[in-house]
Point group: C2
Chain length 471, copies 2
């Protein structure tokens, strides 16, 4: 069966759905093609269920501060992890339903095809028995957890990824988490806090992809007080009876299961793009322009996790919108990408916004930092652990980036990202209102410290704009 | 004893100390005069101890969600309120010590006088036996809780204010809270949550000074699920044996103590300003310019709670700095005041930022709102109660203000206040990064709703800036 459409979108995840929202504004002559389960990585196995598990684990963990102020009885609190996992799935299902009911559920039949798409030619896709000729094609096939083939084969269902984790009806007594990026840290800490014996392992010395050495040090010190982090050596897995022995350097532990969080890989293979002469980058991903999402000068666009960059929902949304917009407009428009944000929702949050430490010219950058141990509100919250570092241009005081581990990092991340979007300076920020006592005052303290490290002329009163400037 | 100084600062609270910080940059020829206890209202009896009590009460209250996800045993949790109050005082003392050690503790003896100051003339103050001739005088005498004289006389220590509350070694079984502004709501809810039988009473129909009728309705509905709020009738107190009967309209309750939170009044009386011919405003406060803090064209400045406006720490800081700066500079400089922020740290937070509902021209204002019940992250936090409303200019989309009750209101308050400071629009904000899943997405949802209500031309893709705009 042959069919002609203006646009074919391959993948009904977040990026594909956002692409569709732009395409539909211009034409109804499109198909959305999806292989595998519907419901987006975010809602099914990503952001949403992980945040539910984290919330449960934080609530349970909080009991450790109770005795400071006469709240007694924490010993009798117990968490039924089977019930907790059910709750995670219940909420997850709710979120998945919301996604579906707002997207594919209400799509006319002719706009949706279930199946895996494969390129026959630049403008031609095969899905099962159908051949789709599309003026424009958007690739939004997402990604999947990386699992070394031999481990998969050897250890089978003793190896979990986030694809399986939330489906577990009951959790085993012990788990080794291999890979301490965002997912490994979030889930490792959550599992530890709900009572699983967790060992965290990473072959790097830095966790949560931190490149700022000072913040990484504080992050490692802080989290390893909760559960062991074995850093700097690759993990080796050996089966022992019904268990797995996981070694790293000179340490080893025997566990029931392993949670693999060694990154995600783009879903490209089944697309058959090798048939097309497309230039690929070092990761094997088709070369594309991140401002237009166009692959080379082909009528093909890419969006979301499959692009191998910025694997987070709001960026997938932007990429989908850019791809969708450009797929239905004659001229290709380049769009500005947003100030980078990375949040690991462990406790304390680990956050980087704007420029990373490794992207700074240290000669021209001023760095201010304070520890959360002295921040009033953090003390009140009994969450006074962590370090916040802000990078600013020495010459003009512009805020370049922030890296931190600390309470309410996710909220500070927005404040600082929005400030960087607007190219504001240390002085501009000090003239903003900071309420009291709030966690934002940690940022304020760093800014005051930065004042002496930048060359900008100072206003009469640092924290106030003269009225003449009032527009 | 006669003495001449360039500047006399009356009051060593937050405003006085900030004033001193500006004065000291120009001269050491000043005195700081303080009557009564040192340590600032904020640290001693205000922001700080109240936030500690709120944190304890929130931690204890959180047990009510435990059973949703299999966390059992909450029935055996019990809070020893005597120990909790000790903890509040311990932390409070810590904060007070920090204030003192950074201010009066390190002040040379000749710069500090203990005692109440009284005007003898425009430039002359009397403190005990000393007469101080000062070129400039800064009034920063703060405020005190309002207590009707007859109640004070009749009921004595059965009437508490925040001056006494945190000093209570043990708390009584029942308390009526009269006055449901910021302090009454914060402390009323906290006391209720730690196990006191609390009745909240206010003669108005709105709580937390809310003027947005929709948010007020949600706030009243939400909080009154926790403890009774009797609104719309003044409170009448009658002694009954060793208790107090508190009536309001046709309701009454018999309680051990009453917490009075009917506002604070400026400490002006003992200053003897009636001797000077100073114009006063309707509240009896000397007429001053809020951008210069100068009283009329006199060599007298006013700052902090005594000014009767914006009784919050960061505004007291600004007023102190403005007064201090102008007291030591020949020409008077007018400074811009910050975007108004008001936060009631109850749970959920009640917040207003920028223009209040009552200050809007409803014909030219677009209002967007959503309930937190549908916000993903709020659901995950099990804090999906509340309403957020954002006001924008219909014509150009500029954000004018936000009023809300909801989780993390204090953090959203900063985000929106900073945006208003920069005169950003609905479209500007939609082009900022919003991570996922975060509470900031509640704001994003309101902004999307506002798009259809404003007249601004829309960009090609709503949430993206074309690259050409990139500077």
């Amino acid at each position: 069966m042959d069919r002609k459409v203006k646009v074919a979108i391959v993948g009904a995840g977040s990026a594909g759905l956002y692409a569709m929202s732009e395409v539909r504004k211009q034409t109804q002559d499109f198909v959305l093609i999806n292989g595998g389960e519907l419901g987006t990585t975010c809602a099914r196995v990503g952001c949403m269920p992980s945040k539910v598990a984290i919330q449960v684990s934080e609530d349970f963990h909080r009991r450790h501060v109770f005795s400071r102020y006469g709240l007694e009885g924490k010993e009798t609190l117990s968490l039924d992890t089977t019930e907790a996992m059910e709750y995670v799935r219940d909420l997850r299902d709710n979120f998945v339903d919301r996604v579906l009911s707002n997207s594919t559920d209400q799509l006319p039949k002719e706009n949706f095809i279930e199946g895996y798409a494969e390129f026959l030619d630049i403008n031609v896709l095969k899905v099962g028995q159908q051949t789709i000729h599309a003026d424009k094609i958007i690739l939004a096939t997402g990604s999947r957890p990386y699992v070394p083939t031999e481990w998969q084969q050897q250890f089978g269902d003793k190896i979990l990824t986030t694809d399986e984790l939330f489906e577990q009806e009951s959790l085993p007594p012990s788990i080794a988490v291999i890979g301490l990026g965002v997912i490994g840290l979030e889930m490792g800490q959550a599992l530890h806090r709900i009572g699983i014996n967790v060992t965290g392992i990473d072959q790097c010395q830095n966790i949560a992809n931190l490149v700022d050495p000072n913040v990484n040090q504080v992050a490692v010190d802080t989290l390893q007080k909760e559960f062991p982090l074995w850093l700097g050596h690759p993990a080796v897995i050996t089966p022992i009876d019904d268990m797995l022995k996981v070694s790293s350097g000179d340490k080893d532990v025997t566990v029931d299961k392993v949670l693999l969080s060694m990154g995600r890989i783009p879903n490209l293979e089944t697309l058959g793009i090798d048939k097309l002469s497309i230039k690929r980058n070092a990761k094997g991903i088709p070369d594309y322009n991140p401002n237009t999402m166009q692959i080379g000068d082909l009528p093909i666009f890419i969006a979301g996790d499959v692009s191998g960059d910025r694997p987070i929902l709001h960026e997938a949304g932007d990429e989908g919108r850019i791809a969708g917009y450009n797929a239905v407009h004659q001229a290709i428009t380049a769009f500005q990408r947003k100030t980078p944000m990375n949040i690991t929702f462990c406790d304390p949050n680990i956050v980087s916004v704007g420029k990373l430490y490794s992207e700074l010219d240290l000669d021209t950058t001023a760095i201010g930092e304070i520890k959360f141990s002295i921040v009033g509100r953090a003390m009140i919250m009994a969450k006074n652990r962590g370090l916040i570092r802000v990078y600013a241009c020495k010459e003009n005081g512009k805020i370049l980036g922030m890296t931190m581990i600390g309470p309410k990092g996710e909220n500070l991340a927005h404040l600082v990202a929005w400030v960087i979007e607007q190219k504001l300076t240390v002085i501009d920020l000090l003239q903003m209102p900071f309420y009291h006592p709030v966690i934002e005052e940690a940022l304020q303290a760093v800014l005051y410290q930065l004042v002496s490290k930048i060359d900008s002329p100072l206003p009469a009163v640092l924290s106030l704009k003269p009225l003449a400037n009032h527009i």
